[in-house]
Symmetry: C2
């Protein structure tokens, strides 16, 4: 029985703040933004960082991946203009995540990751009118050799299928994208998953850049290389592990995000606290009003800390043979809700929120966590305006039939992510009393 305990290991994961002093490369446009950078107390200067190799000088600070993030303080350190960088450490598949406001106005961030002459931007009908022109400008300004094509897909999880994926391949072949081309995902999780899978499969793999525009994509789906599409009989059944060249998170794109989408993304943020980061959970409890008010610095911190948590887990277990599965807290119950209730009724994060409540309930029934933690989870999800129970239509049978085909079933046994011990600890295990699962299902379903 494989039981992975979720512990927080410090890995070679660093957060870097860049301060552009000079701009020596003619390809770089002058940047007219505020460059003030504050460095976290725990950081230390290390002369000139990697940015200098590409174009401009920078000061590099390695910090913030310690086990004790500075609560209530870090948010105020986030500045617009200079990106915060989270490095995802995966050997020769490592890549940076740039986080900051106005990053789509800094073409050099993208240029250094585009190697060939052709780019295909994959986006959808909702995002294209808002950010496609801006993205094309960011790719081409000062980069006249690059040709950008785009394909605009219908918006929504129900289009995350083979038919829509083929539209990306059709466009790529029609526009003669070659092996050195780059696919750019501009949108939320669905676009990221589909574009990433298209990049993994086209000519057996081409470059890939993620520009996530939703909280969900910024804190979860754009980190870690899971790509894929749905099959009529199951979510994400067809796909690949495929890492991007970089992820560019411009927090300004959140300004156009509907409230419900924003809350959906917060479900994943809350998840990181529950499974491995008690201090982050405490920070969220205090700062939820700021997040709901879209405070940019609060969001930049929440995104950074979420990406760091996910990057640490993915670095330990890229292909999900163990600890990575813990990122799926609430997702097995949640997928059942999404499948049973029909995609598009509830957002992914809403289903995950209800799923987390069920996983927490089951953990409590098993005697693995304190009653006080059950209450805290309920409270923070309500604060974030997320559901704390599945839709009334769900029956025990609906849960069981979908859970039977979950990807975490191994040789017939369903493994679940459950909390165990103090806040911030969880297990991924098939070694639990089946009665607790039954009791939880019956407690949350009318029939």
């Amino acid at each position: 029985m494989a039981t992975s305990f979720c512990t927080k290991n410090a890995l070679s994961l660093s957060t870097t703040y860049h301060h552009h002093h000079t701009c020596t490369n003619s390809f770089l446009k002058p940047i007219s933004r505020d460059f003030l950078v504050s460095f976290p107390k725990s950081g230390s200067f290390s002369s000139l960082g990697r940015f200098e190799l590409n174009a401009s000088r920078s000061l590099r600070v390695s910090a913030a991946s310690s086990a004790t993030p500075v609560v209530d303080q870090s948010p105020s350190k986030t500045t617009s203009g200079a990106p915060t960088i989270v490095e995802v450490d995966l050997g020769n598949r490592s890549y940076p995540i740039y986080i900051g406001s106005g990053l789509l106005d800094q073409p050099e961030l993208l240029h250094r990751h585009v190697h060939g002459k052709k780019v295909l931007v994959v986006t959808n009908t909702t995002i294209a009118p808002l950010y496609l022109d801006k993205t094309i400008s960011a790719l081409t300004d000062g980069n006249p050799n690059v040709t950008v094509e785009s394909v605009i897909l219908p918006d929504g999880e129900k289009y995350k299928n083979m038919e829509t994926l083929m539209k990306v391949f059709d466009k790529a072949i029609e526009t003669r994208m070659d092996r050195r081309c780059t696919f750019v995902a501009l949108g939320g999780g669905v676009i990221g998953d589909m574009c990433g899978y298209a990049a993994a499969a086209y000519l057996r793999g081409v470059n890939f850049i993620q520009i996530p525009t939703t909280v969900m994509a910024q804190v979860d789906s754009s980190v870690g290389g899971k790509t894929g599409i749905n099959h009529p009989l199951g979510k994400n059944m067809i796909g690949a592990f495929y890492q991007p060249q970089c992820v560019l998170i411009d927090t300004n794109t959140l300004n156009t995000l509907p409230d419900r989408e924003l809350a959906s993304g917060l479900a994943e943020v809350i998840k990181y606290g529950l499974i491995r980061d008690a201090e982050f959970f405490g920070w969220q409890e205090k700062n939820m009003p700021a997040l709901l008010a879209r405070d940019p610095s609060a969001f930049a911190y929440a995104i950074k800390r979420s990406c760091e948590n996910k990057a640490e887990v993915v670095s330990q277990d890229e292909k999900e043979s163990g600890v990575r599965a813990t990122l799926n807290l609430g997702h097995t119950f949640g997928h059942a809700i999404e499948t049973g209730f029909g995609y598009g009724q509830w957002l992914h994060g809403e289903a995950v929120a209800a799923g987390m409540v069920m996983a927490v309930d089951m953990s409590y029934r098993l005697g693995w966590i304190e009653d006080s933690l059950v209450k805290r989870v309920d409270r923070i999800l309500k604060q974030a305006k997320l559901p704390t129970a599945p839709p009334e239509i769900m029956t025990v049978e609906m849960f069981k039939s979908v859970m039977a085909v979950d990807k975490k079933v191994a040789d017939g046994l369903l493994r679940l992510i459950l909390l165990k011990g103090p806040l911030g600890n969880c297990v991924f295990t098939g070694d639990y009393d089946r009665k607790a699962l039954d009791e939880t299902l019956h407690a949350f379903c009318k029939s």
Copy 2:
């Protein structure tokens, strides 16, 4: 300009002959075949080999990957029953290729590579009546915990598409294949490519075993992990690099192969001689009559030496960033023939044979090879009953339009594999006189 010279590097690639002395594992069926094994002169005994770890004792000989294979001798050393093993060295993705007659009657070879409880055999309407039952027996005899399902696809390159691939996913999901399941490709190159890609994509990757039943699949497509499907606008446009757990080549399956299919596979065998193995080419010139007469020991040697050559190249360059491209000698012209003439008119190897003649012609026009080599290529292909010119329907324009979307185009420049220097040397380059390409196209096309 990336120019990779094709040189023959000795790698950690070994050929192992196994001699079963005893059978101590109750899962193993008694084997009632002739166990006489002769060891090549160049080999050296190394007490007990890896087979002992699994079930039975074995004698291990490391040999035959030297630069000078023993011509005219090795074929007579091949025995039925004991597999010859070629190891493909790809770090943690390494795998063995078992070669021999009657290997489908040795269940233990497959058992050690099946880890979960469920197996999906992917085959086609031609192969299923011949070898499906035998394969299911090999998977289940003495292995009662394994459940085998199968999906039988229509036969032919024209079915190597997304629609057929979806049938594999449908079957896998309907039969609840989980992450620990194994997909088994039973058939030729089309089945191997599709089943391999399905295995790469299903649940983002499951175990995969190849049982190739054609010469083409045994010497080429089953080695090296290229998987994928065609797009209406181009061959193998969608796919993945995905390595199997093992390849099992039972040379008895060649007994049911049509003559034309047999010759098609020989085109790839001849290719290995041309690009990197002059002595193997010399062996082929002498032994072509034996190959055409399906002499089992001649075939076992041709397959072994081909797999070794391919394995060495793939070990150096798994993702085809350089030297691996040399395996595509004749394939760029050949793909144009297949696309222009329509899939299914000519077999892949037939198109490659004509394509190799064109590549050799162009190499000669560039002054890179001797006239005598041109003649030897023409002679051996005719001996193998393969075409030495494209079909008359092909025009210069048809070649050019298909070659423009070749996967080896980088930033608009078509790179080709051409012979350069003495037999056994080639280059992969975009640095050639365009006039020579034009002259070759006009020499082989009426308009």
